[in-house]
């Protein structure tokens, strides 16, 4: 069974760390749906650098991979071997919050505007840019919700889509 699994990876904020992680996926032939990375706000407290003051900043990477259970276990083990990886936490099967930011640029035809606004309202999304002929809609949700939203937006004339890929966190 090939499922989507989110894996949360805490990494050292060193140059090249994204390449190390993405390179691992490509060379081992693992299927990756999305990868997102940002500051975790955490610092690596256990060991200080010599000669360089300050602590190491850690980034949180969320990788969404496809595979069965053994494949995901293997991916986690391989990730754990990277020296820049501080912690690997597979999130599937656990209560998590998964969110993705979606930006969609649409043609704004006046006759359909009211309908469009109600759809945007229903999905609790918002308009973040209005131009004479286009507008940009922003939505935040898990992937399924954003997929559904996109399907409903299609008839209104989608010009561009930008998605961040999911980032995730354990509940509680």
């Amino acid at each position: 069974m090939t499922d989507r699994h989110a894996i949360s990876v805490l990494v050292r904020n060193d140059p090249g760390v994204l390449q190390r992680v993405s390179g691992l996926f490509s060379r081992r032939g693992y299927n990756i749906d999305s990868i997102s990375v940002g500051d975790s706000g955490q610092e690596h407290l256990s060991r200080m650098t010599v000669g360089a003051p300050g602590q190491e900043h850690l980034s949180r990477m969320t990788v969404v991979a496809r595979g069965d259970e053994p494949q995901i276990r293997q991916i986690c083990s391989q990730l754990g071997k990277l020296l820049d990886v501080v912690k690997v936490e597979p999130l599937s099967g656990k209560p998590t919050i998964e969110r993705e930011l979606l930006l969609v640029k649409l043609t704004a035809e006046p006759e359909k505007k009211a309908e469009l606004l109600s759809l945007i309202e229903t999905f609790r999304s918002s308009i973040v840019d209005v131009a004479p002929r286009t507008l940009i809609v922003q939505a935040v949700g898990d992937r399924d919700k954003n997929d559904a939203f996109l399907r409903l937006l299609r008839p209104y004339g989608i010009l561009e889509i930008a998605r961040t890929g999911e980032t995730a966190m354990l509940r509680g």
Binding site: G23, M48, T49, V50
Partner: protein
């Protein structure tokens, strides 16, 4: 090393050499170039620092690799930026596949030129990311000492491997105070298994051994690397479990032991492969179920419970479903198992029929070849070398038929005796790795066994042997062809031979002599014996061109994509 005063400022190059000496490095194998000029300049002021100039960067890294595999210490090599660094790539991948601890230092262009496509610039950190255990780009001279210590720690602990340090030229020139790095920026690389989890698995394993009617142990390179040979010996003595070794495991369990069945896999012994096929319990120690050992996975130990002792969690369950995972150091786990078992196993099952069967196979279907009085056979040469060195030499090989014959016919008695590129299968490895092995083991006989193809991939290092009087005994099994490729084309591609003739090879005797290495040629059994005695008696390096029969095939053979049970025995087998 010159004593430094606290306020003294030294260059990054000086720090590098001091750190290497403090790490106990005996010899650095290297090749200079523009980006490492400061480092080579600093060698003038450090007479304790030993550097061996090879004739190609690939020779340097294979030599460092041979040094590391044969001594258990960390091998070090040094090269310049761009082409110097990229010439190391094959050697880095070779070491990475076989978990060999190396520290590789490369120079790079000055920091302000990085990323500008400047002369001799290559992104060696990017290039080597997939083939190193870790790599570093040193941005500031203040980080250099710590980075070097970290590199040695990473290379030499847990599952070992190559670590590359890339140093831009301005960093090797920059001045700073030398402070020995007491604190490192490393997390624990191999977090140990919770003790109670490991303990539970050991109890389960011992129960499984007691209940097993057809147990077998598969010993891999991990036994050699973790120095677990004594513990393995004791384990086998008490449990009576027969042993199959992988290519890299050879020597980890003595070939002279009664319960040794031979190497398993594609060119494995009959008894060894039968054991792998029919066992009901397979205990793998430091082996990673390479496809050349397992062949098609559904034919590998299909009815066995698999126990896997490995230091690398990612190896357990990677290819073969493992019921009993034991993550940790092979030496420690075997020692613990031995303590728990004590002097008596208390079996609940009878293994006598199984052992009798396997020993009968070992006796009645041994590795063999058709002897010839008129023609020199490559297997004969290997047997002769084994006999005359009593299995005590360090033997390096290249890749191909001669490598498999060495694995089959040299009777390895102790660990770190066979130096061979198992995972990557690197041609050109056999000769330079012997130079490193001899540097690390000046008192042992080091024999380098090569084909006539691979010998030409790093032959330039003959100069290093000659000028430094490194007494490697260089064997060329010369059959005028790329033998293993020919074998596959013969057996699998319907004799449609394609580009396997090595016509135009040099006269190897003249080639050696041109470099100042003594040499001789043998074309018969008698000449082989007498030339070999000359080689052994020669205090310096010696090359023998053994002109051997062209049509020998390595048997048994399991074709790629087939199961172990589809083993072809060859006409000489009974």
């Amino acid at each position: 090393m010159k004593e430094l005063k606290k306020e003294d400022r030294v260059t990054g190059s000086e720090i590098l050499l001091r750190m290497l000496l403090l790490e106990g490095v005996e010899c650095v194998f290297g090749y200079p170039g523009g980006a490492v000029l400061y480092i080579y300049d600093a060698m003038h002021d450090n007479p304790d620092f030993r550097h061996l100039l090879t004739r190609h960067e690939q020779g340097a890294i294979h030599a460092a690799d041979g040094y590391a595999r044969s001594t258990g210490k960390i091998g070090v090599c040094l090269a310049t930026s761009g082409p110097g660094a990229t010439n190391l790539v094959t050697g880095i991948a070779t070491a990475h596949m076989d978990s060999v601890p190396l520290v590789i230092v490369t120079g790079n262009v000055p920091s302000d030129l990085i990323g500008t496509d400047s002369f001799q610039e290559a992104d060696i950190v990017g290039i080597t990311q997939p083939i190193t255990k870790h790599n570093f780009f040193v941005r500031r001279v203040e980080d250099l000492a710590r980075t070097i210590r970290e590199a040695f720690q990473i290379a030499g602990t847990g599952r070992k491997g190559p670590v590359l340090i890339d140093i831009p030229k301005d960093v090797s020139a920059a001045l700073t105070k030398f402070v020995y790095p007491e604190r490192l920026r490393l997390r624990k690389i191999t977090p140990s298994e919770p003790a109670d989890e490991l303990s539970t698995q050991m109890v389960r394993l011992i129960e499984a051994i007691r209940a097993s009617e057809r147990p077998v142990l598969l010993a891999g390179g991990g036994v050699v690397y973790s120095e677990a040979a004594d513990e393995l010996d004791e384990f086998v003595r008490v449990t009576g479990i027969p042993v199959v070794t992988t290519l890299l495991g050879l020597g980890g369990y003595s070939s002279e032991s009664e319960l040794w069945l031979g190497m398993g896999g594609m060119h494995g012994a009959y008894a060894a492969n039968e054991a792998l096929i029919r066992c009901d319990l397979l205990i793998s120690v430091g082996a990673r179920f390479d496809d050349r050992v397992t062949m098609r996975l559904d034919g590998f130990a299909p009815n066995a419970l698999i126990a896997h002792i490995d230091i690398d969690a990612a190896e357990i369950g990677k290819l073969v479903p493992t019921v009993l995972p034991l993550r940790g150091d092979a030496k420690e786990i075997l020692a613990d198992l031995n303590r728990r078992i004590g002097s008596e196993l208390h079996r609940t099952a009878d293994v006598r029929d199984w052992i009798d069967l396997l020993l009968r196979y070992k006796r009645e279907i041994p590795l063999s070849y058709e002897h010839s009085a008129s023609m020199l056979k490559p297997q004969y040469v290997i047997e002769m070398i084994s006999r005359t060195t009593a299995g005590e030499a360090i033997v390096t090989t290249d890749v191909g038929q001669h490598q498999m014959w060495t694995a089959q016919f040299y009777r390895f008695k102790r660990p770190r005796s066979l130096i061979t590129s198992g995972g990557l299968g690197t041609m050109g490895f056999g000769f330079p790795s012997a130079i490193g092995a001899q540097i690390g083991n000046p008192d042992r006989i080091v024999v380098s066994i090569n084909g006539d193809g691979g010998m030409q991939m790093c032959a330039q290092e003959l100069a290093v042997c000659a000028i430094n009087r490194i007494p490697v005994k260089i064997v060329v099994l010369n059959n005028g062809t790329l033998g293993m490729i020919k074998q596959w084309q013969e057996l699998i591609y319907d004799r449609r031979y394609s580009h396997i003739d090595l016509d135009g090879s040099p006269d190897f005797v003249k080639l050696a002599e041109a470099y100042g290495v003594a040499a001789g040629r043998a074309t018969s059994n008698e000449e082989a014996e007498s030339e070999w005695q000359k080689a052994l008696a020669e205090p310096g390096p010696y090359l023998i061109d053994f002109v051997v029969s062209r049509d020998e095939l390595v048997y048994p053979m399991v074709p790629q994509g087939a199961k172990l049970q589809d083993m072809i025995l060859g006409r000489e087998c009974p």
